[in-house]
């Protein structure tokens, strides 16, 4: 459902992404691991057409993102590291606004239901979100994604800075979405949760995908070991490993 083919992106002289090939199918939670600057966020931005590729294509459900940006965005939901909302609007108003931007409209009760499902306290729903904690804002972000009924989700370190409970609740939601057949691509630093929640793990380094794992076939210890091996390895090893999975 999400597919990158020889996807390349340069910022001036810096090659941020060097011919990325990857596929995320419906029902997959694909966790992208890698150091900062490895190209995770660049990949997500390319799927969102926030930036244009210098080579290759990104497709969503077979549609080329660069050619049909609005159509592909309708199929996607995006949750950034920091969900940014309109402080002077309530959670419900934020949810309604973003839903309407995505072309959906629901009744008041349905909106409340979305916010309940992501675990937002009842009393917070009609409060202006400038008083919200980061966890609460992320929940609204998830509700926005739920309400969009997207076929594919792009998550950019969505649990960074969340307390363990909120993080756990978030994982529950992802599993729920996955069971409904959504394709989920998540950039993360959380190896533990990647193994726990993800179905597949991709390790990125310097703009390349250097390894892919199926979480069912490895243990936590394996994930950490393999990840650190890639991080410590020289450029040659990384290049040899590219596309080996």
């Amino acid at each position: 459902m999400l597919q990158a083919t020889k996807l390349t992106k340069n910022y001036g002289d810096i090659e941020a992404l060097k011919g990325l090939d990857m596929t995320v199918e419906g029902g997959d939670i694909y966790c992208l691991l890698g150091a900062n600057g490895a190209g995770k966020t660049t990949t997500i931005s390319l799927f969102l057409n926030f930036i244009r590729p210098d080579g290759g294509t990104a497709t969503v459900c077979g549609l080329d993102v660069a050619e049909q940006p609005l159509e592909t965005k309708k199929l996607l939901a995006y949750i950034p590291e920091q969900v940014m909302l309109y402080g002077n609007l309530t959670a419900l108003e934020n949810l309604r606004y973003f839903s309407q931007l995505g072309g959906h409209d629901y009744s008041q009760d349905e909106y409340r239901d979305f916010l309940r499902r992501v675990g937002l306290e009842e009393e917070a729903v009609d409060r202006r979100v400038k008083t919200y904690s980061k966890g609460m804002r992320q929940k609204v972000g998830v509700a926005i994604a739920l309400a969009k009924q997207a076929r594919a989700l792009l998550l950019d370190e969505p649990t960074a800075g969340l307390d363990p409970k909120a993080s756990n609740e978030f994982s529950e939601l992802l599993l729920n979405l996955k069971s409904h057949g959504a394709a989920i691509l998540m950039a993360t630093h959380d190896l533990f949760r990647a193994k726990e929640t993800g179905t597949r793990i991709g390790i990125m380094k310097e703009g390349r995908l250097v390894d892919e794992l199926s979480t069912g076939e490895v243990t936590h210890a394996d994930v950490e070991k393999i990840y650190l091996q890639h991080m410590h390895a020289g450029g040659h090893y990384a290049q040899d490993g590219a596309g080996s999975a």
Binding site: Y11, S45, L48, F50, I51, R52, L70, E71, T72, K73, K74, L76, A77, Y78, P80, Q82, V83, M84, L85, Y86, N88, L89, E93, R96, Y97, F98, Q100, L101, G102, G103, R128, G141, I144, K148, L154
Partner: protein, 480 residues
């Protein structure tokens, strides 16, 4: 979709703490200006009506006297104002509102409030028009400069653009939302002012008031739209909100202060106004010299044969009318082309200045709007020229009527040029001159003269819109 964006924009602005202050100050200033305009207009209309009635009564009760002396006694014309003058006082402070009409002389309008004001008066009148021309753009800029730049800074733009909404829809929605807020503040105040005037103000008949008010509202909406789309364009283009604000305030100062001042200076330099003393001296000596270089006394002697022939007479003795009155009227008529030439020269310089200013108006939307606004309010130069023309026509008719009366009444005293001076007429005869009434030229003429200003506003709106569309099309959440 666009409606949802507009609604969100609207509620967000209205809930912002800054809004209460800006809206409050704007409403306060506008209402104060409208109240001041209302007060000024009512007082002016009272004075105008009272003075016109008084001068008419004085004319009718001037006592028994020689009819031509009655023409010297003269009469005043007071310029009436349309109801929209309460909103835009135009050039009334400078052009004068009362004109003395007498035999042998065409006069200037006097009664210019500006001459009684200290230099602070040069900043202009506190009027509804001034508030809307200068402060409404500022309000739009304050409400709109963060429309895109602020969302980019706070990070909401990333999420908004991830939803699959087109940039154009965002633009229209934001324009509608911000425009709605501005319209609400300004519209309510103006409506309140207009309502107060129509309910309790002096009743005035005014030609095509509805059409004038509608066109005026339309002009201000166009003007607001120009600033709205420019604000959105800059907000989408600028890297951050601070840059957007700085660029917009710079343009505002240029359009509202620099360009109008420059336009006035340039137009004065290219079409200089004659120096008053010299102009007046030139006109008086031209009268003495005679229009074609033949002094009036000489010209009357030269043409007397033909003049007498019109009456079937060959000498003064055969004339059926008093020759002194005939000569007075001829002298009067000999001056017509002199007045037309000299006043025409003055008027042309003002008119050319205004036209040039209108043309310069293409560089800043405030200029064409200002010109249009006072034209529609009936407080502009064209209206003033119409008034002066009407007063001159009235003056000529007044003098003609009394001279003709003298000619017939003193026909028996036809011994020489001064024989009829002894004639004393009953004051009742002065009723043959009807009271002065000023019917301004219609709206059509105003529109024809100001079509260019409408076009300039439209062009500005189209340019602002084009700029906004271009700017949102290249709207980026990240550097590429």
């Amino acid at each position: 979709m666009i409606a949802s964006i507009a609604r969100k924009e609207f509620s967000e602005i209205v809930r912002d703490g800054r809004f209460k202050w800006t809206a409050g100050i704007m409403a306060l200033l506008l209402l104060t200006a409208l109240a001041a305009g209302y007060q000024k207009y009512s007082a002016y209309m009272d004075i105008q009506r009272m003075s016109q009635d008084q001068t008419n009564a004085q004319w009718l009760n001037q006592g028994d006297k020689n009819p031509h002396a009655g023409a010297h006694y003269g009469n005043y014309a007071f310029k009436p104002a349309g109801p929209l003058a309460f909103f835009d006082n135009g050039i009334n402070n400078y052009a004068g509102t009362a004109l003395f009409m007498e035999a042998h002389k065409q006069n200037f309008a006097i009664g210019r409030p500006a001459t009684d004001q200290s230099s602070i008066g040069r900043f202009g009148d506190l009027s509804g028009a001034m508030i809307l021309q200068l402060l409404m753009p500022l309000l739009i800029i304050f409400l709109g400069f963060t429309a895109f730049s602020g969302e980019r800074e706070s990070g909401t733009l990333r999420q908004v653009l991830s939803m699959g909404v087109s940039n154009r829809q965002l633009l229209w929605g934001k324009a509608l939302g911000i425009g709605g807020v501005v319209l609400l503040i300004v519209g309510l105040c103006v409506l309140a002012g207009g309502l107060a005037l129509s309910l309790t103000g002096p009743s005035t008949e005014s030609e095509s008031l509805g059409a004038r008010a509608t066109l005026m509202a339309l002009s201000y909406v166009l003007y607001g739209g120009i600033f709205l789309f420019l604000t959105l364009a800059v907000s989408a283009w600028a890297k951050n909100a601070r840059t957007a604000l700085m660029v917009l305030i710079g343009f505002w100062a240029f359009a509202g202060f620099l360009a109008p001042k420059a336009a006035v200076e340039i137009s004065k330099a290219i079409h200089p106004t004659p120096a008053f003393g010299k102009w007046m001296a030139d006109m008086r000596s031209h009268q003495m010299r005679g229009f074609d270089g033949v002094p009036p006394f000489v010209r009357f002697e030269q043409e007397s044969r033909e003049i007498f022939a019109e009456y079937g007479a060959e000498s003064i003795a055969e004339l059926p009318v008093y020759v002194g009155a005939l000569r007075l009227q001829k002298f009067e008529e000999y001056d017509f082309p002199v007045f037309e030439q000299h006043y025409g020269q003055l008027r042309d310089s003002y008119t050319n200045q205004r036209r040039l200013q209108d043309r310069i108006g293409i560089v800043a939307p405030t200029l064409p709007l200002r010109s249009l606004s006072m034209a529609l309010a009936g407080t502009d130069l064209i209206r003033h020229v119409n008034f002066a023309d009407a007063a001159e026509a009235y003056r000529r008719d007044m003098v003609l009527k009394v001279n003709n009366y003298l000619g017939e009444a003193a026909a028996s005293l036809n011994t020489g040029y001064g024989g009829g001076n002894v004639l004393i007429a009953d004051e009742a005869i002065f009723a043959m001159v009807p009271p002065f009434r000023f019917d301004s030229r219609g709206l059509q003429a105003t529109l024809a003269e100001h079509a260019g200003n409408f076009i300039a506003l439209m062009l500005w709106l189209a340019a602002a819109l084009g700029l906004a569309l271009w700017s949102v099309q290249r709207l980026k959440v990240e550097e590429d």
